[in-house]
């Protein structure tokens, strides 16, 4: 007798009995004891690919947080020139593979000899900050507008939907490049590095919300007609309570999945903007900026291009794998 897909993750060993009802009851209590969160967590833990992605993400986050310590132990300040590591006639790093050595574990930049390892580590800091915060901003805006559109309906819905359509039809990358380039280099009372981070978060986050907004709107529309909402309303609950206490918990799973899945897109956008010269300003490090620096010399020193490119690839891949796994774990239809 099959107990459904949940049976495989049941801890209890059900001994066969003659009484079918007893067996069924035992099975039901074993299932009822788990919330969606627990079920999803168990599924996620079994998905080795997703776990791998998750571990890579955690390592990257730890690396970004511990950047100053790591540099002290294994590297050199990211803006320190090391002319002694550069071959003066060619302008290229001494030694093979872009100057990888005990002293410079990922080699040095051509021409000025800055430590690539520390630039990668600090680049992770900016990349992850921008990617997470902009995903967070998109999520907040998307949930707010998506839920409002789906819940209120009528003309509010049509206006919000039109705005979303409009933003999706907007030449976003072009507009972001142009917008970021006309803004002053420092703002919000921050230094050039962090003020540009704030600008990137706002621009990337703003253009990302319609993707989440559309999904949330659709889900809200279908949730609005469900019995538990009707029950809550008949008990006298007001709209804010219904929205935040009844509907939002039901939206949590898709919101979480889509937030995870826009993070890699944001990483690529940030790197693209830095590659095009409107992201993090020099001398501050960013992976996209390093790739753009590499354009001049990659013909002779390929490592300087491969390292930041590979970092972008690994990071984006890790987030994609984790996001896919999370979606499979949270989506009951996947099983």
């Amino acid at each position: 007798m099959s107990l459904g897909p949940e049976a495989s993750i049941s801890d209890e060993i059900t001994t066969p009995t003659d009484d079918a009802a007893v067996e069924r009851n035992a099975g039901e209590t074993a299932i009822a004891g788990r919330s969606l969160k627990q079920i999803a967590w168990r599924r996620l833990k079994k998905d080795r690919v997703a776990v791998g992605g998750g571990i890579v993400i955690i390592v990257l986050i730890v690396m970004a947080i511990l950047a100053p310590l790591l540099i002290k132990l294994l590297g050199h300040p990211y803006d320190e020139y090391h002319n002694d590591a550069i071959d003066p006639t060619l302008g290229l790093p001494k030694g093979s593979l872009g100057g990888i050595s005990k002293e410079f574990i990922l080699g040095v930049e051509p021409v000025n000899g800055r430590d690539i390892f520390s630039r990668i580590v600090y680049g992770a800091q900016t990349t992850l900050t921008v990617a997470f915060l902009s995903a967070f901003l998109s999520t907040i805006l998307g949930v707010l507008f998506g839920m409002t559109a789906g819940f209120v309906g009528g003309w509010v819905d049509s206006i919000i939907s039109r705005i979303m359509d409009f933003l999706l039809a907007f030449p976003q990358l072009l507009f972001s490049i142009a917008l970021v380039s006309v803004l002053p280099p420092t703002s919000f009372g921050l230094g050039p590095r962090w003020s540009r981070v704030v600008v990137l978060v706002i621009v990337i986050g703003f253009f990302g919300w319609p993707y989440i907004g559309r999904i949330v709107r659709g889900q809200t529309l279908s949730l609005r007609e469900r019995e538990f909402v009707e029950a809550s309303r008949s008990l006298g609950a007001r709209s804010p309570r219904i929205l935040f206490r009844e509907m939002l918990p039901n939206l949590a799973a898709p919101i979480l999945v889509y937030t995870t899945l826009i993070i890699p897109t944001n990483i690529l956008t940030e790197a693209a903007l830095s590659f095009l010269g409107v992201g993090i300003p020099p001398p501050y490090p960013s992976w996209g900026g390093m790739l753009s620096d590499a354009v001049a010399t990659y013909r002779y020193d390929a490592m300087f291009m491969i390292i930041p490119g590979a970092m972008i690839f690994i990071t984006v891949l890790a987030f994609n794998l984790f996001g896919d796994g999370l979606r499979d774990a949270l989506d009951p239809k996947a099983h």
Partner: protein
């Protein structure tokens, strides 16, 4: 049907007007807020006050924003005269203004860059649709096989690889290591073979990125379609597997792809900024980037308008096509 087309056209025009207005506001207001003077950009560093005042009057920088915008719109529809005293400069019908840097009309400049972007986008589109659909369908039909798993692994890697990395990699492998000629654009009618070989590498790199996405999408759609009841029915009534897949499976499995394709192609036609930057192809995107670097606002505005125009037009085409491909959709 006709009423639908007319309504959609009106919608498209409204969207374009909103795009121009937003772009106009941002790029003419931001310099004002940050205190830079657009007239200064026309004259250059050695500005003498009289010339500056002349430029301001000629291009109407003294007018309120809404008047400037009105003149800009009128210029697109009916052309526009720039007047300072006795000096009249005429800019004919689709007038998008004058470049700050070299005082050339924006419209012809953009039209000139168009064939490069078109060649790049269309060539890549053919490749990525063929590759993406082929691998997606094969993966869906042989679900779980070694084919499926390796194709999907490559596809997942593909969506995680940015073009500014694969582009540089492809250049260092094929051009600098294996010694192929550097990619570049030759007009098709000058020399079709050179046009083809010059764009082959950019096409493949760009197509790889999109093919990965399309393979994943196709596979997911096909799997969903193949699980439908009517596929079982088609098999049950004894149709050959080829007919079941070809006639019933593909048709509804691939329709969602049309929407995505329209949007992607529309976005690319407005300038494949990153690809053009990596391969030094002088299309709309390359042009846009240069004008952004030199704060050439009229060109930025023009390219944004072009880009939005392509997205809107492609959207319209897709919606009309939908009525043809998918019999369940009725336009009205």
């Amino acid at each position: 049907m006709l009423a639908y087309i007319i309504r959609r056209l009106i919608n498209a025009v409204v969207t374009l007007i909103v795009v121009t207005f937003v772009t106009f506001c941002v790029f003419f207001l931001v310099p004002k807020l940050t205190g830079s003077d657009p007239a200064l950009l026309y004259v250059g560093k050695q500005a003498d006050p009289v010339a500056l005042a002349g430029i301001r009057e000629k291009f109407g920088f003294n007018d309120p924003l809404i008047v400037q915008y009105g003149k800009f719109l009128k210029g697109i529809v009916a052309g526009r005269d720039y007047v300072t005293g006795a000096d009249v400069t005429h800019c004919s019908a689709p007038c998008l203004g004058y470049s700050f840097k070299n005082s050339q009309e924006v419209w012809p400049l953009l039209i000139h860059a168009l064939p490069v972007t078109f060649s790049l986008a269309l060539g890549a589109a053919v490749l990525w649709v063929l590759m993406g659909v082929f691998f997606g369908v094969v993966s869906a039909l042989r679900r779980g096989s070694i084919w499926d798993r390796s194709a999907m692994t490559v596809a997942l890697a593909g969506v995680s690889l940015p073009i500014y990395f694969t582009g540089l990699l492809s250049l260092s492998i094929f051009v600098y290591w294996l010694g192929f000629a550097n990619p570049g654009y030759t007009p098709f009618f000058d020399n079709p073979w050179q046009w083809f070989t010059g764009l082959l590498l950019p096409w493949i790199t760009l197509a790889f990125l999109f093919a990965a996405t399309y393979a994943r999408l196709t596979r997911a759609n096909m799997l969903e379609t193949l699980g439908e009841d009517y596929i079982r029915t088609a098999r049950a009534k004894g149709l050959r597997e080829r007919t079941v897949i070809g006639k019933h499976g593909l048709r509804s499995g691939l329709t969602p792809l049309v929407t995505v394709f329209g949007l992607d192609l529309g976005a690319l036609l407005g300038g494949a900024i990153l690809t053009e930057a990596v391969y030094n192809l002088r299309g709309l995107g390359y042009f846009a980037l240069n004008s952004i670097r030199s704060s050439d606002l009229p060109i930025i505005l023009g390219v944004t308008l072009f880009a939005a125009g392509f997205i809107v037009i492609m959207n319209l085409i897709v919606d009309l096509l939908y009525g043809v491909i998918d019999p369940r959709v009725r336009l009205g």
